[in-house]
Assembly symmetry: C3
Homo-oligomer: 367 residues x 3
């Protein structure tokens, strides 16, 4: 325990973001005494999740660094979006399926467009033209394209064919989930094992950070996951009411706010990679994170909904969300095709994101 | 006649597939005496069509080999999908327009995704990375894209605009058919005549097979076409009822089963090319076959429906089928863009196919 | 004045197109005395707009040539589609919003498909294979893709979500207009200032034409703009009635006829560039013009509609038009990806255009 405090102090010195950890006890205190102050709870829980996500991310990387490449890659690939998974699980248990789906679609779109676009823009403002290894970007863009096709089909068929029953959508969603997880697993086999030399430039470097000792990393992983789960509960409860106070539509909250909060830690790494002219790393984090949510987190939630949810969840998304995911995947594919980048590429990608965010912000709430 | 029997014996020794020819008489006998045994007739007719398609394919290639490149290319390009054409014509004469359209869309999707994906997978399991001449793939993917745009328009406009009358769809379908056939013809002029040097690597090799003498090849072409037509009649009659027995939806039968049966012979050639590291050949067969069906077989059927069908057929497809054709064309375009392949590329393409097949299998029948 | 007449005589000797200027007085005379002869007025106004557009284009280039690269590029980029802007403004003031939108969508599709396709075809008939600098094509295709996404969103969301009110569409359209103009401005900054060396091959050459003196160019710019505005008024009034006489649908007129008339001058330059093996120039004019209309002319019209229109205009297009713009942008992106061209590429692109034109021609009028 003493060593943990010392290590934390060390970490905080290097990562000013971790000062935000003071909001973790604050949000629990507030939740106890000011149960109805939704806006306050929302703000506090956001501020608390961000540093916890950063700790979680560093703990995962530390365990990965100690266990060797194959197991490490596997760990990174399954726990890399642990924050998003825990938030979504909390919403799933609360039966908030609309919020779960909006946050999944939003995380895919936000990672693909906002994270990638900001990396290109930040890198491009410092370097005239940046080059990067396309192999990783191509693999992730291919997986992302596959996932959007899978998510497109239930919505497209259900729309085209009103005879398609709810049972059909449910069965199809389970089938698609299994297929997507299998494709994700084979993708890892491909990039970590059989053809890893192709992805050489894109490996997750440690950025000079010292990995934690194994026991400490595992303990942090377990402890912080519990903390994220507890804060998420407050976050999910308060987010809808707080959004109304701020005049935001539920769609905007799920798509944009939750996605930005859940991905804050990865964004910090990706942006710092771009400023260090390591676009391989940045593109890998952004697209890898998006494809992980689409091919791993979303299907796992569908399967878990049979165990822990009030009723099964399917993969049928709001048509507008499907269009946005498709456009995001297509944009990523077109933009990373050349393996070169300049600041305006970032502007283009960010503008697509801005168009989506504006649409969701203005969209009148249904019902 | 004697020489034919001898030659056939020779062929059978090299192609074990041709043993299946015993099912050709079997299906006729069964059709005569067990008229109501739909499932039996379905299975027998499938087993009979596969070797006939292989004979047809070899006869076409033999005639092509004797007539020189330009005429030979033309013959291959028009008769290469003779099996599909004859099956579709049989269904057309029977007024089974839903089956015709499903089998056309299914053949395009199956050739583009299943045949191409399996080639990449089989080749990739044997060779670490395979390279191939992109020129042919680009031309075919371009033609395929054009065809899907043409097939998209009547459905999109008819949906967007309920005032669009049946007469509009009919006139537009005839116009589109003429345009597609013309584009297909110009594409042949381009690849066989004016710019043939670009497509050098992609020529249809004979794979060490000895071409048949001209007279024999022509006689086989004529005789086997008649046999395919007769067996197709039994196949078309039995397929729907048999499908119900197996618990398959009509959409699944038309899209997947008919397409796999009709394309069996080409698939055998394409797969064998991939295992011999001749991906030029495999990609050429897969995408060439798909674009031939889209730009030649489908339009010819529309025009012929005015002569032989009970009523004119149009090009308005079920929206789900249009989405699948679009996704297939886009996948082919993205995947062949780099001119390189590894096993995971095959997995990606096959997964898209699997998603479609699963959707069609689960789709509740309409009405 | 004397020097203008002399210069005009000189110009006419080099550009036989300018003989058509005799139709400018003719159309005014006809409009005064044969007010009801819609077909005559339509034909005369078309014949009068074409040479005026050519003069306008040359005057803009002359001013641009004198003012140095940055200001010149800016001028070209804002006044390059002055003819389209003036025609659309006239229709806007008349409250003909359907015509404005059809002509905007039509200009984007016509420039992207017809102009680009004809350039590839004309160039390809003269040269076996043509190569060009892809950087410019990529930038313009990227901007065009962005614009089609922006135009897709209001239609997609409004369709998916019937609760979306008219007020939402209106607010969103204003927001999108501001975003598109900003993106267009940043695109100019990128291509004219920070990364201009990438676009070296694509600069607007003067084609050996002598630029006019500044005063004359400015006077021509002002005077001819007024003339175009006056003729446009007659054109907009007569076009719908004349179209009925010719048996054309309103959609066909707005999409195809108005777009071809408005873009005639640019087409002449682009085609001549292609025949001189300067595809950089041709592709730059075609895609640059399309993206300028999508990102500058259309948003400016939306914003101006608050000042001069009878009621505000939005960016919600007919779904068929959205599909056509999307397909056009995708086609341009796929086709310019390789930086090489041959005649068949032109055929492919033109066939897509032909399919659209045929659909619009056959489409039964609504209502």
């Amino acid at each position: 325990m003493a060593s943990f405090v010392q290590l934390l102090r060390n970490e905080i010195r290097h990562k000013p973001l971790l000062w935000l950890l003071v909001f973790v006890p604050a949000v629990f205190v507030a939740a106890k005494f000011r149960h109805e102050a939704h806006t306050l709870l929302f703000v506090l829980s956001v501020l608390a999740i961000v540093p916890l996500a950063a700790l979680l991310s560093h703990a995962t990387e530390s365990v990965a660094a100690k266990t060797g490449d194959a197991v490490g890659g596997l760990l990174n690939a399954t726990l890399g979006n642990l924050t998003e998974l825990v938030i979504a699980l909390t919403a799933l248990r609360a039966g908030e399926y609309m919020l779960v789906k909006a946050s999944l679609a939003g995380a895919i779109v936000t990672n693909t467009l906002f994270m990638l676009g900001t990396c290109f823009l930040l890198g491009g403002l410092k370097y005239h033209v940046q080059e990067y290894n396309r192999a990783g970007a191509r693999l992730q863009a291919g997986l992302l394209f596959l996932a959007t096709v899978a998510l497109l089909v239930p919505s497209a068929v259900a729309q085209a064919d009103s005879a398609a029953s709810a049972r059909f959508t449910q069965e199809l969603s389970v089938g698609l989930s299994v297929v997507l997880i299998a494709a994700y697993g084979l993708g890892m086999l491909f990039s970590l094992k059989t053809h890893r030399e192709l992805f050489a430039g894109a490996e997750h470097g440690e950025d000079g950070e010292v990995p934690w000792p194994m026991g400490l990393a595992l303990a942090t992983l377990a402890g912080v996951t519990v903390l994220v789960a507890l804060v998420s509960e407050i976050f999910v409860e308060s987010v809808q009411k707080a959004a109304e106070t701020f005049g935001m539509t539920p769609a905007f909250v799920g798509f944009i706010v939750v996605a930005l909060v859940g991905g804050a830690a990865e964004m910090a790494s990706a942006f710092s990679g771009a400023r260090k002219n390591r676009l391989d790393l940045s593109v890998g984090i952004a697209l890898g994170s998006a494809s992980q949510i689409a091919l791993f987190v979303a299907p796992v939630l569908v399967l878990l909904s049979y165990v822990i949810g009030p009723s099964p969840m399917d993969l049928q998304f709001w048509p507008g969300a499907v269009v946005m995911m498709l456009v995001a995947a297509l944009t990523a594919s077109l933009v990373t095709n050349s393996g070169r980048s300049a600041w305006f590429v970032g502007v283009l990608v960010l503008t697509v994101y801005l168009i989506f965010a504006m649409t969701l912000y203005l969209l009148p709430p249904r019902g």
